[in-house]
Amino acid sequence: MALEKITQVRGKGVYVAGNEIDTDRIIPARFMKCVTFNGLGEYLFYDVRKNEDGSDKEHPLNDSRFSDATILLSGENFGCGSSREHAPQALYRYGFRGIVAESYAEIFFGNCTTLGIPCFCATKEDIRTMAAAIEADPSLEITLDVENERIRFGDQNLTAVVRESARMALSGGKWDMIGELAEGESEIAKVVAGLPYMAP
């Protein structure tokens, strides 16, 4: 399975402030009654963006200055709670291609990586600096350098952290593991044979 090597993401940013932003907030469960992931982008952060009558609340994603953003900034423990892959799917289908946060919930991080979305870890300070720069100039181009773990914008060149396994998978074009997993058929069978509970 030939996958794109994701060595960097380049685009505009938008800052969605807050810690412990959970996946129920990212995509409310009532929008998950579907058998495909099609159309999920429309419901991203729905309840924090929309009033009950469908009109817009004040939210960075409703701010037209940031409507082309492909990089999302946030806080600690981003994506906590439910394992729903619908959350990164909604982010991807909305248009996001990279995330910069202080930390991530584990299952969410893995889901993003599997979809080819790099998740960068940066300090609170650096995220504030980025957010201020974006606020001052929403058209600012940001480069997330996966291989070198750096974030560049304006004259800034910040260090960041991209977990090694994710970094290797993304930049090596192996972020979707199915091909590699399927290669291990005989080794898998050996392990299965050693587990009595697997017997038919």
Binding site: P28, K33, D47, V48, E76, G81, E85, S165, E185, I188
Partner: protein, 474 residues
């Protein structure tokens, strides 16, 4: 070499190291449900792949199923489409489906254990983060995303990084009126919602030794709310006793061999953990959440925090939570009016939960204006409760007794909050909007505490309401 259970089970299931440094881990038991699986089966079809081990894959329907008016077609066409899709996928691939007509349908994390599918020394995955529940049996069990469901269907393996292990000891004795739910809420309050990220939690100590399997499941269930993807208890005689005679448990000549093998997976007494944390059971009180994540919890005798009184780094989240929950800062949580009372979910929807509440419901009545629902975690739990007459106790008290499913935990079926209703809930998440209304408010607590709230119409100390033991100083 001395190892924890996690290390032993990991080694027994590791296939090889992958190019990204992660391990290709065999997942021996794959549980699926209707919400996170359809896209995975779709991906399998697109890739022209078959299910590698259909006999190791088990399905149920739980999230979207109505808890009343369950006749098909469901009133919600989207829900109806989802159950039909799961049925089709299982028929086409040979996966066992505990469907509605089977008598075995229910919440996936209730069904696995009661069918004897959940066993010690196994790896278990499901597209649902509360899969950690099954760790109560000494399994490595965790939630996964839909793309990993595809990987498991196709290869029975997935890529995973090895977790560190934190041993959590809860010693001493719990006071009367303090339950397993309070223990895990307490642990999460102390260690935080991200304290467990990168860790498996191994729970032990005298409190866990004394817990039943269902109590161990309640604790393991909410490990993920503390950031720990995996949470487990070492298998012991209680584990084996629970499993004996269940439909998928080993039987006959195989039983004794299996038990010996299971016993061998328990952590070696001298193994090293990456971290060890100690708790005294006597310090745990009936606990309720007051905020918008499971860590924002207090004893029922305490007051809602104030922004001024909170640590600097907590202030923003405390302010956000106070605004959303509309609870007066600094006021006692006891006395907060409730609208809806929900007993059920994969955390607290098992037989012992209903038995314990039924003890106290005799002769009591749900307060005027309160909607109270009791939702058995599975058709089997429902049947046993009915055989014991428990459902009548609930109904006589004014609870609605429902059919099995996830119900009001998460708003994918008709059981939802309306407007800013406040629910006293035995479920596991109190996030904004979790229970179906964008302004709905959730307060988590034990089933007995939900019952007390239902009787009083407000958050109450169940020990006072029901005269449970001595009132402990919290």
């Amino acid at each position: 070499m001395s190892q924890s259970l996690f290390g032993k089970v990991w080694d027994a299931h590791a296939v090889k190291t992958l190019s990204n440094g992660q391990t290709q881990l065999l997942i021996g038991t794959h549980l699926i449900h209707e919400v996170t699986s359809p896209q995975a089966f779709g991906m399998l079809r697109d890739l022209n792949l078959k299910v590698a081990y259909p006999h190791r894959t088990f399905a149920t329907v739980d999230h979207i199923v109505p808890t009343d008016q369950r006749q098909e077609p469901f009133a919600d066409p989207l829900a109806d489409a989802m159950i039909r899709e799961l049925r089709r996928n299982c028929e086409e691939t040979g996966v066992t489906f505990f469907d509605l007509p089977s008598g075995k349908q229910g919440i996936v994390h209730v069904v696995g254990p009661e069918q004897g599918i959940t066993q010690p020394g196994t790896t278990i995955a499901c597209g649902d983060s509360h899969t950690s529940t099954h760790g109560a049996f000494g399994a490595i069990a965790f939630g996964i995303g839909t793309t990993q469901i595809r990987d498991l269907l196709a290869t029975q393996t997935m890529a995973l990084a090895k977790l560190k292990v934190r041993r959590i000891n809860v010693n001493g004795e719990l006071h009367p009126g303090v339950y397993a739910k309070d223990v895990i809420l307490h642990i999460i309050q102390k260690l935080g919602v991200k304290g467990g990220t990168g860790f498996a939690y191994e729970y032990g100590g005298s409190v866990f030794d004394n817990f039943s399997m269902e109590e161990r499941m309640t604790v393991c269930n909410m490990s993920i709310e503390g950031g720990a993807r995996v949470g487990y208890v070492n298998p012991d005689e209680k584990t084996f006793e629970y499993l004996k005679g269940r439909p998928y448990s080993p039987s006959g000549d195989e039983w004794d061999t299996a038990v010996e093998r299971w016993r061998s997976f328990a952590s070696d007494p001298d193994c090293e953990y990456d971290d060890v944390v100690e708790f005294d059971g006597a310090n745990i009180a009936p606990t309720v959440t007051w905020g918008i994540n499971p860590e924002q919890a207090i004893s029922v005798v305490e007051s809602v925090p104030t922004v001024e009184g909170s640590a600097e780094k907590e202030k923003a989240l405390v302010a956000e939570a106070l605004e959303y929950m509309k609870l007066p800062a600094g006021a006692p949580i006891k006395g907060t009016k409730v609208d809806i009372c929900f007993i059920g979910s994969c955390t607290n929807g098992r037989l012992s939960d209903f038995e314990e509440v039924a003890k106290y419901l005799e002769g009591q009545k749900v307060a005027e204006g309160i909607k109270a629902i009791a939702v058995p975690g599975s058709q089997v739990v429902d049947l046993i409760c009915r055989e014991k007459g428990l459902h009548t106790v609930f109904e006589n008290a004014g609870f609605e007794w429902r059919g099995a499913g996830c119900s009001m935990c998460l708003a994918m079926n008709p059981d939802k909050l309306i407007g800013d209703q406040l629910s006293a809930s035995s479920s596991n998440r109190n996030f904004k909007g979790r229970q179906g209304s964008p302004t709905g408010r959730t307060v988590l607590m034990s089933p007995v505490m939900v019952a007390a709230a239902a009787i009083k119409g407000e958050i109450a100390d169940a020990r006072e309401v029901f005269g449970v033991g001595e009132l402990a100083n919290a």
